[in-house]
């Protein structure tokens, strides 16, 4: 198929298919995470109105890069 030996086709279609399934399963199993979003949004709203600095970071701050 496609001019390629069968083993090759099986691998280069099969393994990505496994990843797609893994992704879908992960998204499905983690659907309960929305609760956390709500909690955070509420906490954020309260922080904006009331006391500041509840989420202060505990460390030094200069020039971090990070990914990209």
């Amino acid at each position: 198929m496609f001019g390629l030996p069968t083993a090759t086709v099986v691998i280069i279609v099969g393994i990505p298919a496994i990843w797609v399934i893994y992704t879908l399963v992960f998204v499905f199993l983690s659907r309960g995470w929305k609760a956390e979003d709500m909690a955070e949004d509420q906490a954020l709203a309260r922080t904006a109105n009331g006391a500041d600095g509840r989420d202060g970071g505990a460390a030094s701050a200069k020039g971090n890069g990070g990914a990209a």
Binding site: F2, G3, L4, P5, A7, T8, I11, I12, I15, P16, I18, W19, V20, Y22, T23, F26, V27, S30, R31, G32, W33, K34, A35, E36, D37, M38, A39, E40, D41, Q42, A43, R46, D52, G53, R54, D55, G56, G57, A58, A59, S60, A61, K62, G63, N64, G65, G66, A67, A68
Partner: protein, 512 residues
Amino acid sequence: MNIETWFLVIYFLAMAGIGVWTLKIGSKGSEGYLLGGRSLGAAVTALRLQSSSMSGYMFLGAGSLAYTKGYFSLWYAMGDIGGGVLNLSILGRRMRKLSQILGSLTSIEYLEHRYPSKWIRAIAAPVALFCIFFYVMSQFIAGGRGLEMVTGIPYAWALLIAVGVIVFYTFLGGYLAVAYTDFVQAIIMLIGMVWILIGCLQAVGGWTAGNETVGQINPNLLTMWGPDGIESVQWGVIVGAVLVFSIGYMGWPHVNVSHMAMKRPSVARRASLYATGFNLLFIPAPYIVGIMALILLPTLDNPELAVFEVADTVLPNFAVGIVMAGIMAAIMSTADALLLQSGTIASQDLFQRFFKKDMSDQQSVWVSRFTVLVLAIIGYFVAVNDPPAVAEVVIFSTTVLGAAFVPVYIAAAWWKKANVPGAIWSMIAGTVSSVVWQLTGLVDVTGVDPMGVGIVCSTLALILVSLATQRSHPVPAHVLEAMKETDKIGAIPAHMLTGQNDSLAGQVPKDV
């Protein structure tokens, strides 16, 4: 200057413009600018993850591996496709939450907060710097070669320009600027790569016809076992190839920082969809192009230029210019972010932590800049004199980073018994075993890849040492509390969790 070069210049100016614009809008929170204000949504997170891991490797390394080894090189792609979702699903939410509770702002600081001990930083920072240096150098080489090919400037000068632009870009921006330009670049790289692939397949008469032609050159190139056929296949290398870009990826401190910057913990879910989708389209492409290059460019001197040369051959001029610009800019922004990360590691995680505790703001900045310059200079000289292959360097640095850091990052979020001695020995075991395995050439003797060896050693070290020292070095209470907090989704009814103040986790009395 030819058309391609003009496009390059225009593109760089546009990217610089975005960089300056994000500087101006700045950020609002107190943790603000360090992590882009934890404001990155799903699409940006996912694409940043992807573009931060690719760039130079994809355009030079993947193409060269494919040109020389045929479909065997796709084993790397097989791992790579899943790397994003694996990283997001295993580390994403928990690392984001744990880092927020512990108050960590960099991924190495996160390790020290989770495994409280100065030795953690004393080991992690140099290892990370070492690997980042190699990875940056690979981007320098890629940038220099690409620039040379597009503009015709001799390699040494092209490299100097590339390094100069990268360093300038580094001094200009910070995390947020880098985040947004990366997003734009990821889109351009995707479009460009797909365009090259389509053009290439058209030129060889279709995928099937192309495969058949390649098969006539050497039928083994069509198999997944290597150009010498199944008799000489090294299973250990195959396993390593799959592992390195799927699991190894979780050890990159500069990638894991993205998790910490997610807008909300559950961004990981949508980001994983974007990541897998992007990867399916993007990752296999340079490998296929590299293979087909055997037909279009049978006498290629430098296999690393396979993808570039194919682009030059099959695309109309203006398209070549835009795509090349996208590739170059992507390479440069990856290098820039890595350099920025190394500057921070040197100034915060090493210098300020161990030498000058009361280091002022100014001094911190100067240490950062100095580090960036030193790395750039050393990198330039190594890259200009006898540049190693981009693929080799990237795979080596990812291998060491993966072996050293993957177990400690995963255990940080998932295993409550992982303690300081376990983490220390894990990082040491992973680094030493993978480096020694690679440098002493044991790969060829045993057919086992350094990645596999490294991961096994570091994982065993973590487990055995942690269990053996549970009594003498227990995990601190506030860390356990923080971890229990990250467990909580599902265990506690959502209505109770709404409005909870996570930072109180550090104030729970011990006997409660």
